[in-house]
Every structure is written in C-alpha cells, then in structure tokens.
C-alpha cells in the first residue's frame, strides 16, 4: 500500500488506491482494524467535505443569503422585524440559521449519511470513528457561520441580492487570484490566507485532522491560529457592517 504521507504529484492517486485497497482488506499489517477504519473514514470525509464545500457551499450561500437582508431593506420589512419583540442579534441569528440550514444540507447531511452507511456495514467502525460526527458538525458550523456572516454583510450593503452575489464571487475569485500570485512571487505559503476560500479549506482540513492523514490535505505550512484570526476578522467585519445598516434602518 502507498504511503499516506506521499506528497509527490501522483501521491493523491496512489493514496486513493490505498483507500480502495484498505476497503478490500489489503491494509497494512501493523494497524489494527479499528484504526484502519478510522483512517479511511477520516480521509474520505475530509475529502468529501472539502470538495463539497468548494462545489456547493459558495454558490448555495450566495443564492440563499445574498437577498436575505437586501430584500428586507428594499421592502422596509426590516422595520417590521425590528419593531417586534426581538433583538437585532435575533434578527441576524435568524438569517444565519437560514443559510446554515442549506449549508448543512450540502455538507453535514451527505457526510453523516456516508458515515452512517459505513457504520452499518462495517463492524467496529462506529466505535472507532465516533468523533467524526462532532468534528464534521463543528466544521460545518464554522463554515456556515463565516460564510453566512460575510454574505449577510454584503447583502446588507446592497438593495438587491444580485449585487451582493456579484460582490461575493468577486471576493472569492479576486482574493484567490491575489493569494496565488503572492504565494508564487514570495514563496511564502502564509499568503494563501489572503484567499477567502483557502481559509476554509485550511480550517476544515485541520479540524478533521487525524493520525495517518496525508500532509497534502492538512496544509500545516499556514499557522492554524492565523487561519482562525483571518476568518474571525471576516466575521467581525461583516457583523460591524450589518450592525451599521440595521441601526441606520431603525433610525431613518
């Protein structure tokens, strides 16, 4: 079986074939059966989560969240919400919850379903990988929180969801391009944090980190604290924008 730490260009392919071998019973001798399940499942879930996040989370967040506050501002519904017995925080949490529902549907639900299927088919799997579900839950929660806050912040800046969508994708692609350029020019991988999307990839990979996970997926070259700080910065900035908008609407 190929080494999991192989980071060569063909490493990922070899690694995937290793997973298939593992499922077929050709696992390395010195690992126990439970550890092997744990490793295979961790790798698979990390893969799924990261891939699903890239494929679905950004467009889903955009479609769902871009108009959430913009429409309320345009139709003055925000005034009605704010004059009901609910706080501004309640309003924002309510909107975040809408986004989280869809994000969880695209990430947590399939990953948990895969885990459930594996647990029902493989003896000892559930016991060996019991901590995956809370880890995935935490990862999805953080992804929903950060993405949700950013899209709501953009939505509160605009009076139309379309404009929020445009700014959202501009933020994703422009920051990604900038990050790639900076990393290529300086050779310092910390600049990958400039990319909005890479921040999530790093966060998720570190949250799902278990023994035996290949280095190529973990992205240890960027300090975890720095990743968390950058994402927290996005959240705080978005909350500040939302607060400003909501207060302005309440007072006008």
């Amino acid at each position: 079986m190929a080494s999991f730490a192989d980071t060569s260009p063909g490493g990922r392919l070899t690694f995937l074939s290793g997973i298939i071998d593992g499922l077929g019973g050709g696992a390395t001798e010195d690992l126990t059966q439970a550890e092997e399940y744990r490793r295979i499942a961790s790798v698979g879930i990390v893969f799924m989560l990261v891939q699903l996040q890239s494929l679905f989370v950004l467009p889903i967040t955009s479609v769902v969240g871009s108009g959430l506050i913009a429409k309320d501002v345009r139709s003055n519904a925000l005034e009605v919400y704010l004059t009901k017995p609910m706080t501004r925080a309640d309003y924002v949490v309510g909107k975040l919850a809408v986004i989280a529902c869809f994000v969880f549907l695209a990430t947590f639900a399939p990953v948990t379903a895969v885990w459930g299927i594996a647990a029902s088919l493989l003896e000892g799997f559930a016991g060996a990988t019991w901590d995956f579900v809370p880890r995935v839950l935490l990862a999805c929660g953080l992804v929903s929180l950060v993405n949700g806050c950013v899209i709501l912040g953009l939505s509160s800046l605009a009076r139309s969801g379309r404009y929020a969508t445009v700014i959202w994708f501009a933020l994703c692609f422009f920051s990604f391009g900038t990050a790639q350029t900076l990393v290529a020019v300086t050779g310092n991988p910390v600049f990958s944090l400039v990319s909005y999307r890479d921040g999530f990839a790093q966060l998720v990979s570190r949250l799902m980190e278990v023994d035996g996970l290949p280095e190529i997926l973990i992205a240890r070259d960027v300090p975890f604290v720095a990743t968390v700080l950058v994402l927290a910065g996005y959240v705080l900035l978005s909350l500040a924008i939302m607060r400003r908008t909501i207060e302005a609407v309440a007072a006008r």
């Binding site: 345009r74 139709s75 005034e79 009605v80 704010l82 004059t83 609910m86 706080t87 009076r159």
Partner: protein, 349 residues
C-alpha cells in the same frame, strides 16, 4: 391631557432628547398620555417619527427618559413591543408573501403560538376589510390595502397601544376615511389606545381626543383638542408697521402674551370670560354662526390698540409649525453628495 397619578401612564416622556449626529431631532420633549387617543401633529421633519421610534426602543435617547406603561422604552423594549403595535409610515412587507402569511409572521414574531397567530391573522384581515384578498401577495396590493395589511399585522398580537406613523399617506379619500373609521372603532369598541402621528389636522381631529403639537423637535402644545382650539381662537399673528415699543407695551399691559418671530409677533390675547369663551353656537333660523366670544374679545383688544401702530391680522390657527433653518454657504454641496450617492447606489450596489 389626563393626569395619571403614578408612572404607569400609557406614555410618559420627560426631558427627552435624541440626536442624529449633529442634528437634534428631539429637544427636551415632555409628554404625558393616558387617554384613549393621542395625535402627534406636526410638519415633516418635526420629530414625530423619531418620537415614535424612541418609544419603541429603536433609538437610544441622548438624555431624558421615555416610559411606556411605566417601563423604560429602551431598556425594556422587548416587553414594550409585546404590548404595543406599530404601523410604519412607509410600505413594508416581506416580498412574495401573502397577506395572511405576513400577518401570521407578525404574530409569531410577537410571541404568539403558530396556530393562534394564524387564527388571529385571518380575523384581523377580515376586520381590516381584506378578508377576500388575504391569500394574495402583498406586493400586488393597492396603497390602501397595504396600509390595512400593516394595520392588521400591528393588531394581530392584541396590543394595548397602537402607534401609527402617518397611516393615511397616499390614500384616496375613501380609503382614508375607511382607515380612520377603523382607528376610531379600535379605541371606542376594542379599548385599544391609539397614538396617531400625522401632519393633517383633520385626520387627528377625526380620530383623537388629545393632541401634541410637535415642531422642531419639541412638543410646543399638548392637551385636549377642544382646549387647543380655544387657544387657537385667541392666537393672532400681528405684523406691526409703526411705533413698535408703544404697541408692545400696550399689549403687555392688556395681559397679552407676545412671541416675536422674524417680522411679526404671535400674540395670545387674554381669555375674556374663561371657559365660556370657547363655546361655539350654531346660528338660529339660518343666521350665520356667531364668532366665538374669545375671538370677538381678541379682535376688540387688537382693534383698540390700533392707534399706536398699524397691524395686520392673519387668520388665527394652531401654533406655527414653520421651520427655522440656517442655509449653509456651500449650498451646492448637498446636491453633489446626493447625486454621487444616487449614482453609486444605482451603478455599483
């Protein structure tokens, strides 16, 4: 105004000041209301909406305090909003939502159980005359229907106090009368206190028994409408072309109150014979209605003072609501800023 003995009056505002940046929206406002209905009367920009929003806890006062049912309007805003219904000035609805869903949502946000909220939403929409159209999206409603939908969502949680901000704006005469009729019915039959903000005296007169006149961020007059009208009969705007000091002295000696504004005075002449002065009678056998006694007395006083100065009398009215704005030297600046803002909003956002 009624004078409640304790602090549990429906509204109690003391030395309230609200500021938006440098602009003082409310300056030392005092108000007490515990009756069935109060009209907030004043021109646009007088501070009526700011006062209502402060009462709802949307705006934090800079100083002073506002109590609603004895509770601090900002600190206990959630509790107050449970007991208060609010009809905003502008069109406001959740896009693509039917009226019944919209009103139900209002009830649920106010803390009602869903089943009860649905039931009440149907009742309120029928009560407001939207029974047949309640399943249609609010986006497609006429202005009058939208106003009534707003009223229904404000009433759905059975509030004790209803705050309405310019509810008749944009309504045709029939729709206006219908809405005002509902408001009168609410206070007379349902026992809901009504606070109506408007710049239309006739709307306030139709619905309210008490009025607070708001101008330039202050409550300049408040009381029963009948009493204020009586004061109005003794109010004169006098322009003097002649020996001014002598005229002023004579007026003050006669017991009149003077308030100078630009080139004219507002003169409040003394009431000739107390409460009787206000009484208005209907003319008998087709004769024209007699002038109120106070008005006759006031006119007489001013006439007697004419030898010293030339005066022009204007029609008596409620206290003036005119603005007192100092124009900036950079008059073009707001225009440029305004256009830039529009362009940025249209092209970028």
């Amino acid at each position: 105004m009624n004078a409640p003995s304790d602090e549990t009056a429906a509204l109690r505002v003391e030395s309230l000041a609200v500021r938006y940046g440098r602009h003082e929206a409310l300056r030392s406002v005092d108000l007490l209301f515990d009756g069935p209905s109060l009209g907030l009367l004043g021109p646009n920009g007088a501070g009526k909406s700011t006062l209502i929003k402060t009462l709802l806890g949307l705006i934090r006062p800079r100083s002073g305090r506002a109590l609603v049912f004895g509770r601090d309007a900002y600190r206990d805003r959630l509790e107050i909003r449970r007991r208060v219904g609010y009809v905003p000035e502008r069109d406001c609805h959740v896009p693509d939502m039917s009226a019944v869903d919209y009103v139900t949502l209002g009830g649920e946000l106010a803390g009602m159980p869903r089943t009860e909220a649905i039931q009440r939403a149907h009742e309120m929409l029928w009560f407001c005359g939207l029974g047949e159209a309640r399943y249609r999206a609010v986006d497609g409603y006429s202005a009058g229907m939208k106003q009534r939908t707003k009223l229904a969502q404000a009433l759905v949680h059975d509030p004790e106090l209803l705050l309405l901000d310019e509810p008749t704006n944009g309504l045709d005469p029939e729709g206006r009368l219908h809405l005002l009729g509902i408001l009168r019915d609410l206070q007379d039959r349902k026992g809901i206190r009504v606070v109506l903000s408007s710049h239309l005296l006739r709307d306030v007169e139709f619905v309210c028994r008490e009025v607070a006149v708001v101008a330039k961020g202050r409550v300049v007059r408040s009381g029963r409408i009948e009493d204020l009208k009586r004061i109005s009969d003794r109010n004169w705007r006098v322009k003097v072309r002649g020996e001014l000091p002598a005229f002023v002295t004579r007026l003050e000696t006669a017991g009149a109150r003077l308030e100078a504004s630009d080139a004219s005075f507002r003169v409040e002449t003394p009431d000739a014979d107390g409460s009787r002065a206000h009484r208005r009678g209907r003319g008998r056998r087709g004769r024209p209605a007699p002038r109120p006694r106070a008005q006759v007395a006031s006119a007489g006083l001013l006439d007697s003072l004419e030898p010293g100065a030339e005066t022009c009398r204007y029609r008596s009215r409620l206290p003036t609501l005119g603005g007192d704005f100092r124009p900036s030297r950079l008059r073009w600046l707001p225009m440029v800023r305004y256009h830039l803002k529009i362009q940025l909003r249209q092209k970028l956002l």
